[in-house]
């Protein structure tokens, strides 16, 4: 019976059981109502018929006296399916009629009997079983009592019949419901089993698996489809993660190897001063590695969105002017002029630290990649309100990034400079992008001077959504 228990755990089955119960209650009420109503109607008709007969018999007595009354009643009593006719003495003893006996006390009332009474009638096989009837009793002027009644067998039978018919119908419906219920439940169970089979495969590591979609577009299909979309996203993220870890392995192996070699070399150095220099080199190499790790951790935290809680209104103008002030000497030392154009009082909902770090990264890049370029001259930092949002851009006049590589440079560890001659982690723009994503903004890369293919420069724009006023 455990299968039944499992079945009953299904929501669909539980719901249909509840519906069946409600339906049964309604149906039972209906049965009783219908039978009661029809019984009342029939009884009413019976009373009418009896009343008419009473009038006729009374009229016969009035015109023809006892003789005509007896004849009339005799004739009527012989008809098939006849009514009940009794002539009784004043004390209630039956003198004549087509009834063998009646429930005692019936003749004590005059007029309609207050309730159905029981009587026995004559049949060919002696005395028949008991019947129920209602009757009207009236008294003749000679003291005799006349009872004219009608058997209640018809309405009673009718009531039983209706009730039976309804019961049968209910039983059929209930049976049907149970069958459907089992079928639905089984079907639901089967589909859920199929879904959990697929999920097990996915859990086992096969992310290319998808949940079955039946094609009917029902709720199971919709669930499967949204789970499948989720799986696609997970698979993509997983793929990205794998790529990143490949890159990490690759990009961290190189400096680690270098570090190891430097340490090995330092072991062989006997001269104190040279040895010290070598060791300092090792330390700065390790620091670079630590920076890389920090940057990676930072990006993944920003991407995970866990800093989102720390968002507050920040004055972007102030951050930008801080950055300009912080980088101005560094730019100058690199032979560049850092100019800034900052619209005042620009505020965004965000995280000051992260936005600051993003701007610093962009300025670092701009200075790093344009300082070697002849005539690069200047780096411009600009904050302005635009119709599509708030734009913060850093423009340099260095070699720039070809249009087809722009998506790549944002990726982790991607650096156009294959020789890696410039210091850097290859993570700067990745962090900027993650920061922009966190702020519901976007990152745009474009040429500073599109008409100078050799030295087109790079403009990186951080577009923040316009703050709802």
């Amino acid at each position: 019976m455990s299968r039944f228990r499992v079945l009953f755990k299904s929501t669909a089955v539980r719901l249909s059981a509840l519906y069946i119960l409600l339906f049964a209650i309604c149906a039972a009420t209906l049965v009783f109502y219908v039978t009661a109503m029809s019984e009342r109607l029939l009884t009413g008709q019976i009373r009418d018929a009896v009343r008419q007969e009473v009038e006729q018999v009374q009229r016969a007595y009035d015109t023809g006296g006892m003789n005509l009354l007896l004849r009339t009643m005799e004739r009527r009593a012989r008809q098939p399916g006849a009514n009940l006719y009794i002539i009784a003495g004043p004390s209630g003893d039956i003198l004549a009629g087509n009834v063998a006996s009646v429930q005692p006390g019936v003749f004590e009332e005059i007029g309609w009997t207050s309730a159905p009474f029981i009587y026995q009638r004559y049949t060919d096989s002696g005395i028949e079983r008991r019947h129920k009837a209602i009757a009207n009793i009236f008294v003749l002027d000679n003291g005799l009592r006349i009872l004219i009644g009608r058997d209640l067998g018809d309405p009673e039978r009718f009531r039983l019949l209706v009730r039976q018919a309804l019961m049968v119908a209910l039983a059929i419906m209930g049976l049907g419901a149970i069958i459907i219920w089992f079928a639905i439940g089984r079907n639901a169970l089967k589909r859920i089993d199929r879904m959990s089979d697929a999920s097990k495969k996915i859990m086992a590591g096969d992310l290319s698996q998808r949940l079955p979609v039946g094609g009917s577009g029902d709720e199971f299909d919709r669930l499967s489809m949204s789970l499948n979309t989720m799986l696609e996203r997970i698979e993509k993220l997983n793929e990205g993660l794998r790529q990143v870890s490949d890159n990490i392995a690759h990009d961290l192996k190189t400096p680690l190897t270098r570090l190891r070699n430097k340490a090995a070399d330092a072991l062989d150095i006997s001269d104190g001063e040279t040895r010290r220099t070598a060791l300092e080199g090792i330390i700065s190499e390790s620091d670079q590695l630590i920076r890389t790790f920090n940057a990676l951790l930072m990006i993944s935290r920003v991407e995970a969105g866990s800093v989102a809680a720390e968002m507050s209104p920040v004055e972007l103008s102030a951050i930008v002017s801080d950055s300009a002030e912080l980088y101005e000497p560094a730019a100058e030392e690199a032979g560049l002029d850092l100019s800034s154009s900052i619209e005042p009082d620009v505020e965004v909902q965000g995280n000051r630290e992260l936005i600051g770090q993003a701007i610093f990264n962009l300025l670092d890049n701009a200075i790093k990649y344009s300082s070697d370029t002849e005539g690069a001259g200047k780096v411009s930092l600009k904050l302005s309100r635009r119709p599509d949002g708030i734009c913060l851009s850093v423009a340099d006049h260095g070699p720039g990034v070809p249009a087809d590589r722009r998506d790549d440079v944002v990726k982790r560890f991607v650096r156009l400079d294959e020789s890696r001659s410039k210091p850097g982690t290859g993570l700067g723009l990745s962090l900027v992008e993650a920061v922009m994503e966190l702020h519901n903004g976007r990152l745009e890369l474009s040429d500073t001077d599109p008409d100078k293919p050799e030295q087109r420069g790079l403009t990186v724009s951080m577009i923040f959504p316009a703050k709802a006023a």
Binding site: V307, A309, E310, P329, A330, E333, E353
Partner: protein, 248 residues
């Protein structure tokens, strides 16, 4: 490593004056034994006595029973987490400066850490030079409440109220940011301050400047305060940061 320090601590605690006189004494609460052994040794080499506790409860006990100049605490500890150790210490009115080490480097973690009563926050992984510099600054801070109006290093004077800087009585004009840079360096005269500490305290951004931005500011400042004088004051400590000091 974990049993011995307690006696050690008691013997030293009562006799050593706190502050910049004598050796600094710190407590490291860190459950990673290897890291703790390394830190203890590295601090000893830097002239700092370091005790070690390997879980929150014993760290809290040692921190409350002994007098330390600085407590270095890991955030995630067995038996009692780092933040709760700090709050408990503060509740007991123990105001030893606390530096929190944490693998949780998020911006808001720093805020929660400082709110719990920590005095400084260093995300892992960190360079030891960074930790050392911060511990030394924290240890020094304890002894000298920051009440001086005028900072002096050799013949260099910085007046925090009038914002005037003089060397040998001659006024040196500084940009506001250069003034704050010099103020921070002089406040911690004789201590190594790292680039990260400068970015934190002068610019109020909390991360590791990856390039030479800070160095350029420092060398500008240096040229202003040292240009016409023979005696260098502002030194670059290789692999660590900067220090302002009068070598006499």
């Amino acid at each position: 490593m974990s049993a011995a320090p307690q006696e050690n601590a008691l013997s030293l605690a009562e006799t050593q004056p706190v502050g910049n006189v004598g050796r600094m004494k710190i407590l490291i609460i860190e459950d990673d034994l290897e890291a703790a052994v390394y830190l203890t040794k590295a601090f000893r080499e830097a002239g700092i006595v370091a005790d070690h506790a390997s879980d929150g409860e014993s760290g809290l006990f040692m921190g409350s029973e002994n007098t330390y100049d600085v407590i270095v605490i890991d955030r995630m500890l067995p038996r009692r987490d780092g933040l709760s150790v700090i709050s408990e210490l503060r509740r007991k009115a123990i105001h030893t400066p606390v530096l929190i080490l944490s693998a949780l480097g998020q911006v808001d973690d720093r805020v929660t850490g400082l709110r719990a009563g920590g005095d400084d926050y260093l995300p892992k992984p960190y360079a030891f030079s960074e930790l050392l510099a911060r511990v030394e600054v924290l240890g020094r801070r304890k002894g000298t409440p920051d009440q001086d109006v005028v900072y002096r290093v050799g013949d260099l004077e910085l007046d925090r109220l009038s914002h005037e800087v003089r060397r040998s009585g001659k006024e040196i004009l500084l940009q506001p940011r250069e003034f704050r840079l010099l103020e921070y360096l002089m406040k911690n005269a004789g201590q190594v301050v790292t680039r990260t500490m400068l970015l934190e305290n002068v610019w109020d951004y909390h991360f590791d400047p990856q390039t030479n931005v800070i160095d350029v500011h420092v060398s500008r400042l240096r040229s202003k305060i040292e240009k016409d004088y023979n005696q260098p004051l502002l030194k670059t400590i290789r692999g660590a940061g900067y220090m302002i000091k009068d070598e006499g």
